[in-house]
Assembly symmetry: C2
Homo-oligomer: 196 residues x 2
DNA sequence: TTTATAAAAGAATGAATATTCATTTATATT
DNA sequence: AATATAAATGAATATTCATTCTTTTATAAA
């Protein structure tokens, strides 16, 4: 029997991401996607149940790949500063290597689609980060705070900076490029905030 | 002659925001919107040039109202901590008073629509905040840093927390409510990061 | 080589889409 | 009260939409 052509599926996937990044969710039509990917509309439905499944599946793939990347060489038993620096490095590496994925997943995260994505995400990641935070607090390497406050202070600035970088401009429209030094400076500020 | 019924326009506006917040940009159709607002499809086109203009115009309205709110009683000559606290308070008040506007504008901010919105935004706000930051650095009340780093550290955590709050859950799905004390705690962390 | 099987294609379907048109309606001005 | 004017309507338009149907094609297993 004939096997599924993964290259074909990848083309569909990549073009879908591209279309959504450039034209939003309402810029994605199955026919335009088929044309852009060089396949028949019907072929999309061999790989994805329907339009919604396409979006959710791709979102999950990227989210899981991001989590996986962020956990590279990471352990919840790490020293707090060391762990934070590694998380920052891993996330930054992923986003800068895959700018389209970054813009796509951020768009998803702020759209109603994320509701569906959230409940299908693995639990691993939250557990590991939860342990990391609790341990750091117990060891007096991190000021005691609710997980959501930690998350907001620890990572929201990084995401914001990387978004500016990926878009090539800050929210005022000014051209912007994030370099190693600026990222390190920002991490230092965040660590200053979080360390007792 | 007959006058434009502002109540009608407001109904269109509010239902559009509601539909986009709940079902995303691809959940907004002009016919559904007309039905939800209790008007004829044609009536929408009396108030907005087309679908795109509707979305961009509403986005601009909300963005400008947010800026205005954030500048209530604010002056770039303020002491840094005082100014930061006021910005946090003003923004939080606006978002918590208008949760739908918050979810709408955040969705816009992460979508390609924002490109169009950005270039139509007034310059006032950036100028005032730019002066505030420069002055604070000159007075050694704020550590020297690029505006984008300041912005990311100073406000991204607030936006993240308010988003958790407005959605009623954190990104892990856990129920979440932001209270005064938690906001103050987070502001303290951010100030610790930013003060020399 | 043949056969069985599922992938892939392209055309077709009906529903939904944004927008407009001809008509009616409300009201400010005269 | 009459008139002029623009708001508002509902039906209509052509287009685009997601999805499926039938047919063809590639290939793994026999």
């Amino acid at each position: 029997m004939r096997l599924k052509d993964d290259n074909k599926k990848e083309r569909i996937r990549n073009k879908a991401i591209e279309m959504i990044v450039h034209h939003g969710f309402d810029g994605l039509s199955m026919q335009k996607l088929a044309k852009a990917a060089g396949v028949s509309p019907a072929t999309i439905y061999i790989h994805y149940k329907d339009r919604d499944d396409l979006i959710v599946t791709i979102s999950l793939e990227i989210a899981n790949r991001l989590f996986e990347s962020s956990l590279l060489n990471f352990s919840p038993d790490m020293n707090f500063e060391e762990g934070m620096r590694l998380q920052w490095k891993n996330r930054a590496n992923f986003f800068i290597a895959h700018p389209m994925d970054m813009l796509f997943i951020e768009q998803v995260r702020y759209s109603p689609v994320y509701e569906k994505v959230r409940e299908m995400l693995g639990q691993n990641f939250k557990e590991i980060m939860g342990r990391f935070v609790n341990k750091a607090i117990a060891n007096s390497q991190l000021v005691p705070l609710p997980f959501e406050v930690y998350w907001s202070v620890a990572f929201a600035p990084l995401y914001q900076l990387i978004k500016f970088h990926t878009q090539g401009k800050s929210y005022t429209g000014k051209n912007f490029t994030l370099d190693e030094a600026m990222m390190e400076q920002t991490l230092q500020l965040v660590l200053k905030a979080l360390k007792p």
